[in-house]
């Protein structure tokens, strides 16, 4: 099972190269397909979004999310790997769904973190989550309103408000167990930045790369291994 037994040349041939080819083509195709509903609106109903308002809206939305277009892929990459990144950024719901499913798949199969096996097993976990996700939203579209009617209101409410915090806590607990010495830093950095009202994109970057920097120092000093 040793990682160094893997033939690099072969690995690139059966994995890295096809992964990149598939990734680039699906992402760019998805860009184009994003606008089909707008084209339909114009062709069938003769409605076009006014040019100046569209530019304004683009400016607004880019000022809110623009930094995340860059920060998120960079921050999540070390966890998701290449194929995992392509899938996660096309399918969305990264923090509450893709990352936990990737981590759990690796945990259950028991692969060594950061290896090629870990990347592939994590990707497989993400694929499993995308399948369930697509089934779930398709069901919601057709029978959602009816199902919500028979759900007790307080249960629906609990799911809406508390699933994300509970998952975030659980995944943090899972990884804090592996490197307990890093866990306090990963909380102190974002908490203090939030306290001083730093912009969110900066909080993400500082949390991820601050924790990585500390792990490097600790690793070099043989405090963690």
């Amino acid at each position: 099972m040793a990682a160094e037994q893997i033939n690099e040349q072969k690995y690139r041939e059966v994995w890295t190269t096809p992964v990149i080819r598939l990734g680039i083509s699906t992402m760019l195709l998805a860009c184009v397909l994003s606008f089909i509903p707008l084209i339909y609106l114009y062709m069938v109903h003769g409605i076009l979004p006014p040019f100046s308002a569209s530019l304004t809206a683009w400016g607004l939305v880019a000022s809110v999310f623009g930094a995340f277009y860059i920060v998120e892929p960079i921050s999540y990459y070390p966890i998701l790997g290449l194929a995992g990144t392509y899938i996660s950024f096309l399918s969305g719901n990264i923090s509450n769904l893709r990352l936990p499913c990737s981590a759990m798949a690796q945990e259950v199969v028991g692969v060594e973190e950061g290896t090629k096996q870990a990347e592939i097993i994590g990707t497989m976990g993400i694929i499993g989550s995308v399948v369930v996700n697509l089934v779930g939203v398709t069901l919601a579209a057709f029978v959602g309103a009816w199902l919500i009617g028979i759900f007790p209101a307080f249960v629906a409410d609990a799911f809406r408000k508390f699933t994300a915090p509970a998952i975030f806590g659980a995944v943090f607990g899972q990884f804090a167990m592996r490197q307990p010495k890093l866990a306090p830093f990963a909380l102190v950095i974002p908490l203090s930045l939030l306290y001083f009202k730093a912009p969110i994109w900066l909080v993400i970057l500082a949390s991820v790369f601050g924790t990585i920097a500390i792990s490097r120092i600790f690793y070099k000093a043989k405090i963690i291994h």
Partner: protein, 230 residues
């Protein structure tokens, strides 16, 4: 508003929303196939692959129920087909709602309120689309460059690469939790209980490996219901 929702829920919009959802599905199916091609090269067994796939499915059930519930709410404002499209790809509900609202803001209209005409809806759609493209385009063009960076930073030290991924994960989730830990509230209770349950469950799973697949799902439910009792 009624007329707007009628158009937003029309069959035509369903048909135009479908292609990108289908691409998301085709993408994972092709990667699934590629993994089976690559498995031998990295010494992974068929059993391990199906175990990973199953774990991903089981772990995602809880979060998907939440997405399901949020989506039903989103459907009433942007119509079922757009909600379906935007929650199948790229977006999480808060992101999409923010984008749709900013689109209405740019037209000087309240989102889903008085004066929310088809034209304003078109700007909402445009804003959601152009926002999603930001992520798609950057990942499509630059993700493979990140692999080169990772290899350089890793420097062939597999042990360090492992610590690096773990540190990144702890960092990301430290940040995600921090927003819920600023004040003592329902989310605070959910996060703490979730973390404690997960640690206990993983210890139990060492003796009973059978339950490992379900640990995150169970920890999530415990955290959720503890928050409800709070």
């Amino acid at each position: 508003m009624d007329e707007v929702l009628k158009v937003a829920n029309s069959t035509g919009v369903w048909l135009t929303a479908a292609p990108i959802v289908i691409i998301a599905l085709i993408q994972v199916l092709l990667y699934y196939r590629q993994i089976y091609h690559a498995a031998d090269a990295v010494n992974l067994t068929r059993e391990q692959l199906s175990q990973a796939f199953r774990t991903g499915m089981v772990t995602s059930i809880g979060p998907v129920v939440a997405i399901f519930i949020i989506m039903v709410g989103l459907m009433s404002v942007i119509g079922a087909p757009m909600a379906w499209m935007r929650l199948s790809v790229i977006g999480s509900a808060p992101t999409e709602l923010t984008a749709a609202t900013l689109g209405a803001d740019a037209m000087g209209v309240k989102f889903g309120g008085e004066g929310y005409t088809l034209q304003v809806m078109a700007v909402s759609w445009w804003t959601m689309a152009i926002n999603g493209v930001g992520w798609l385009l950057l990942v499509g063009l630059f993700a493979h460059k990140l692999e080169d960076v990772r290899e350089k930073v890793g420097g062939g030290d597999t042990k360090w690469l492992g610590i690096l991924s773990t540190a990144a994960m702890i960092g990301v989730f430290g940040y995600l939790n921090s927003r819920n830990l600023m004040v003592i509230s329902g989310p605070f209770v959910a996060a703490i209980t979730g973390a404690v349950s997960m640690i206990i469950l993983l210890h139990v799973a060492k003796k009973m490996p059978k339950i490992k697949e379900y640990t995150l799902g169970i920890a999530m439910l415990i955290g959720m219901f503890a928050a409800m009792l709070y």
